[in-house]
């Protein structure tokens, strides 16, 4: 795009903007960790000191925190990746029936927000009043086993379930890109199927698998909603929830600097995992052999295992989508929380839904959410597009740096980003952003920029320059080329990013909770969290049901509206 590269001015502007958006929060994060003043607003050089670090690292609770986090992350990654590998392998390499359930169903589980899933399982497995536990007690008497969801085990179970769809979407192309002739060569060399699997298949898959696991570990590390709902009530802290607890203390003025100090450790861990991940990716690229001829790998015969395999799939879908939805549906019609029983069914009422309609708060949260989500999605898409344009297509001197800057936020957990921006907005109080939905929007945009640019880069690289040049020599000036050639070809990617951001921005509670200041910037996720905290279970169930229906519809519409949600490419960043 000759015209583009000639206008260096806007490229510089873009560069500075991204630089600021990414580095300013980090700067404040680091500086803030040394601040011993109570409030970010009171920060000044005279109040700096290492008191926060001392407090945080001399507290034995911090090491328990560490241990909890390690166990939680390791467990959920093992569970999630294990399940995902099994599912991916079942659909790609066996002749399991009903594969459509997996292809369509697994990505749909992303439509269920993590918070709601955790809450639904609390209603099921709360030790004394969970529906399932009560049922067990009725069946087996007082000696019945109790499954307690408020535990590390519970957190691992749920987070494991939640990691499956993304891992699945990453593993499928990996399995598909394996050259079957490599296994065939093993076969004709005399290797049994099991040793071929061990020595060839798994070894080839290994780097990709490890990369997926590292990626999932990064996700599990930063997720707030599951440990928030399941761990906080039981006092089981992991990094993300501990930071939240420090900042959102209810009985004393938080020393914000301590949250920063803790966040720094978190940041270091995140950076290390990102580094490991990129290392793994380069190994994957070495091993990936793209078969241009489109051979499909050999499928394994399952015989008597066909139905049980399908059973596993259904069980997974049941636990992930169906059960939580049913639980919410049921609870939303109850005047007060009770186990399913004939009596309960008789007492059903529409009160919760009516109250939702009457609560101005719900209306304003909904409006705020819609505005925030639409703005965030649009800005992220636009910004990703511009950044990728410069990175992939121009000769701007700083384009490599720009690309790396855009990717950095991926390593920063949402909660930490929230804290960082909290400081930025409080300190830069001449900008009226603090306490508004724009604060949340900006925080999200910076976070999602990394995803948007990865996706956009890969897509732009695929558009051969000659497609544009052909338009030029056919007589079209640059802007018309952009409009008639470039834009239609980019449309699937642009809309893919837009939808992805929408689906994520709606569900995430961690960062918004940090930036939440009052009803004017309350979004749905915060509303749900607050209502749950106050015990408005009926209200939560009602909103949750409606939200899940809306998201499921959105996901369905996306699938069948022609903008196929592209599977996440491991390779090609």
């Amino acid at each position: 795009m000759g015209v583009i590269s000639r206008l260096h001015l806007w490229q510089h502007g873009l560069f500075l903007l991204v630089l600021f958006l990414v580095l300013a929060p980090l700067l404040f994060l680091i500086l803030g960790s040394f601040s011993t003043a109570r409030l970010p607003a009171d920060f000044s050089l005279s109040t700096m000191g290492v008191a926060n670090y001392l407090k945080v690292y001399s507290d034995p609770g911090t090491y328990e925190l560490f241990a909890n986090t390690v166990v939680y992350v390791a467990g959920s990654v093992a569970l999630g990746t294990g399940l995902a590998v099994s599912l991916a392998w079942l659909v790609e390499r066996t002749n399991m029936p009903g594969k459509i359930w997996v292809y369509a169903g697994v990505p749909m589980t992303l439509a269920v927000p993590g918070m709601l899933q955790a809450m639904a399982w609390v209603l099921l497995l709360s030790p004394r009043i969970g529906f399932i536990n009560k049922m067990l007690k009725d069946l087996f008497g007082p000696q019945a086993p109790i499954i307690d969801i408020y535990s590390l085990g519970g957190m691992i179970f749920l987070e494991g379930l939640r990691l499956v769809p993304t891992a699945f979407l990453m593993l499928v192309p990996l399995m598909r890109s394996m050259d079957p002739t490599l296994e065939e060569a093993a076969a004709v060399s005399g290797a049994k199927p099991s040793s071929s699997m061990r020595k060839i298949t798994l070894r080839l898959l290994a780097p990709g698998l490890v990369a997926v696991m590292i990626y999932q570990a990064m996700t599990a590390l930063e997720v707030f909603e599951i440990p928030g709902v399941l761990g906080l009530p039981a006092g089981i802290y992991v990094f993300s929830t501990k930071i939240y607890a420090i900042v959102r203390s209810a009985t004393f003025m938080p020393v914000y600097g301590q949250a920063n100090a803790l966040a720094m450790v978190y940041l270091v861990i995140a950076v290390v995992t990102t580094y490991l991940y990129t290392r793994m990716i380069s190994r994957v690229e070495r091993y990936t052999i793209i078969t241009g001829k489109g051979y499909r790998p050999r499928q394994m015969e399952l015989r008597k295992w066909r139905l049980p395999a399908l059973g596993i799939v259904f069980l997974f879908l049941f636990f992930s989508i169906v059960l939580p939805f049913l639980v919410f549906l049921y609870t939303s019609f109850l005047p007060y929380l009770q186990s399913p029983s004939w009596q309960a069914l008789q007492g059903m009422t529409l009160k919760n839904y009516r109250l939702l309609a009457e609560y101005g708060e719900v209306g304003s949260a909904l409006t705020n959410t819609v505005i925030m989500v639409v703005v965030t999605a649009s800005v992220t898409t636009l910004l990703s597009f511009l950044v990728s344009l410069v990175v992939v297509r121009s000769n701007f001197w700083g384009r490599k740096l720009l690309d790396q800057l855009a990717f950095v936020p991926h390593a920063i957990p949402g909660i930490v980003m929230g804290i960082a921006f909290f400081w930025v907005f409080l300190k830069l109080d001449f900008l009226p952003i603090y306490g508004t939905i724009w604060a949340i929007s900006i925080g999200f945009t910076v976070n999602f920029l990394s995803y948007g640019t990865r996706s956009m880069n890969a897509s732009l690289l695929q558009i051969h320059k000659e497609l544009e040049e052909a338009a030029y020599v056919s007589g079209a000036p640059p802007w018309r080329t952009m409009w008639r050639i470039f834009f239609p070809l980019m449309l699937p990617t642009l809309s893919g990013i837009w939808i992805w951001v929408v689906l994520h921005a709606v569900r995430i509670a961690g960062m918004p909770l940090i930036l939440y200041e009052g009803p004017q910037n309350q979004v749905l996720a915060i509303l749900i969290w607050n209502m749950w905290d106050e015990g408005y279970v009926g209200g939560v169930a009602a909103i949750g049901t409606l939200l899940m229906i809306a998201l499921l519809f959105l996901t369905l519409a996306v699938r069948y509206g022609g903008f196929r949600r592209h599977s996440v490419q491991l390779v090609g960043s």
Binding site: L39, I129, P233, P335, Y336, Y359, E534, G535, Y536
Partner: protein, 384 residues
């Protein structure tokens, strides 16, 4: 004239005279919503006979309020309840608009103060400051409310001596219990009964993390030694469930059967839950912990005059009755201490009580919290 005619004339004259002196003749008609309220509560209109006098305010307030924007109120009641509460006020001052926000999460007080320190006044009136009050005082973030005329309606001890907050309603912090699990015989008459009755062991009792709502009053009434002794035994022997949820959440869990009783519970919330059909009820061992919830105006609030009008009205009989109608909060007004305006009155009236004294609060609370926190953290209950 016949004797009948004279009696008739006399009666008519008498009635006429009486009607001249009846309160109605001297006062303006009550707002429609007020009349409805009184009807609902089956109270006589005479209860508000001096309402006009009560609502007399300096003219500057009314004029000033006319020029201001929307009055912003933060409180914990549901918006539909807030609508009910504000209706009479809006009828009396139709030129005022109210923006109500339910700021109900526990850290709302902190958040408001953080914003205040950052020179953002996110509200004019806020309620339920609770334990954060000393921070507000330190920052000087509250207006002096001593010029509010109706401050005289509420007894000493229900407002801050420096006028920084006024009590909104009486609040009783006793135990809500699950009627399916607990029999009448098990209900404690005195606080010591919790220690002796095995019913409350095995995690059947739940404690919220708010000692300043009930234990403080016990400290006031029974002294430091007794309270410390009681609490130690409670944590060590009874080992209740130590719950991090808010007080409202605990009642919801109670109804579901998570535990048999929860301390501390507020009377109005428990009452609201019974109206939903939940199997819960309320009991108060002696001494009954009483507190008031605070209402205050942020210093430098932009809508200060409207705020003053509101607080003044709120402390009038009309305002207090409106409050009761909206969420069953018992009035703090001296002249409205009656059974009809008190949920679970039979549990409260006639018993020995201990009112949380603002001055005592400042002195005792830090010591109480210092004692309580380690007990809580060490976890004497069935922690998951």
């Amino acid at each position: 004239m016949t004797r009948e005619r004279i009696s008739l004339l006399f009666c008519t004259l008498l009635l006429g005279l009486l009607s001249l002196f009846s309160p109605k003749a001297f006062s303006a008609p009550l707002p429609k919503s007020t009349q409805e309220m009184l009807k609902k509560l089956m109270l006589d209109a005479t209860i508000l006979f001096d309402i006009d006098k009560e609502l007399q305010v300096p003219k500057e307030w009314v004029d000033g309020a006319k020029k201001e924007g929307k009055l912003r109120v933060f409180s914990t009641i549901d918006p539909p309840q807030a609508d009910v509460l504000f209706r009479p006020f809006k009828e009396r001052y139709p030129f005022l608009a109210i923006e109500y926000n339910r700021a109900s999460h526990e850290d709302r007080a902190i958040r408001t103060l953080v914003a205040y320190k950052n020179k953002r006044l996110v509200t004019d009136i806020l309620t339920g400051i609770g334990g954060s009050f000393f921070m507000y005082r330190e920052t000087g973030a509250l207006e002096d409310l001593r010029q509010i005329p109706n401050l005289k309606n509420i007894p000493t001890g229900t407002f801050d001596p420096d006028g920084l907050w006024v009590g909104m309603h009486m609040r009783y912090w006793c135990m809500a219990y699950n009627t399916k699990q607990v029999r009448k015989e098990d209900l404690p008459k005195r606080w010591e009964d919790f220690l002796s009755n095995p019913k409350w062991r095995n995690g059947n009792l739940a404690l919220g993390n708010r000692p300043q709502l009930w234990a403080l009053q016990l400290w006031q009434a029974k002294g430091e030694k007794w309270t410390k002794d009681f609490l130690t035994k409670l944590f060590a022997e009874v080992r209740p469930q130590l719950r991090r949820e808010g007080m409202n959440a605990l009642i919801e869990l109670l109804a579901a059967g998570e535990f048999y009783g929860t301390i501390p519970s507020a009377e109005y919330r428990t009452y609201q839950k019974t109206l939903d059909g939940a199997p819960v009820s309320y009991t108060c061992p002696e001494p009954v912990p009483v507190a008031v919830s605070e209402m205050a105006i942020l210093k430098g609030a932009p809508n200060i005059n409207a705020a003053r009008l509101f607080v003044n009205w709120f402390l009038s009989k009309e305002g207090q009755i409106a409050q009761y109608i909206s969420d069953f909060a018992p009035p703090v007004h001296k002249d409205l201490q009656r059974k009809e305006l008190l949920p679970f009155a039979d549990q409260i009236v006639g018993k020995e009580r201990s009112l949380r004294d603002p001055a005592a609060e400042l002195e005792i609370q830090p010591k109480l919290l210092e004692f309580w926190d380690p007990l809580w953290l060490r976890g004497g209950g069935r922690r998951r």
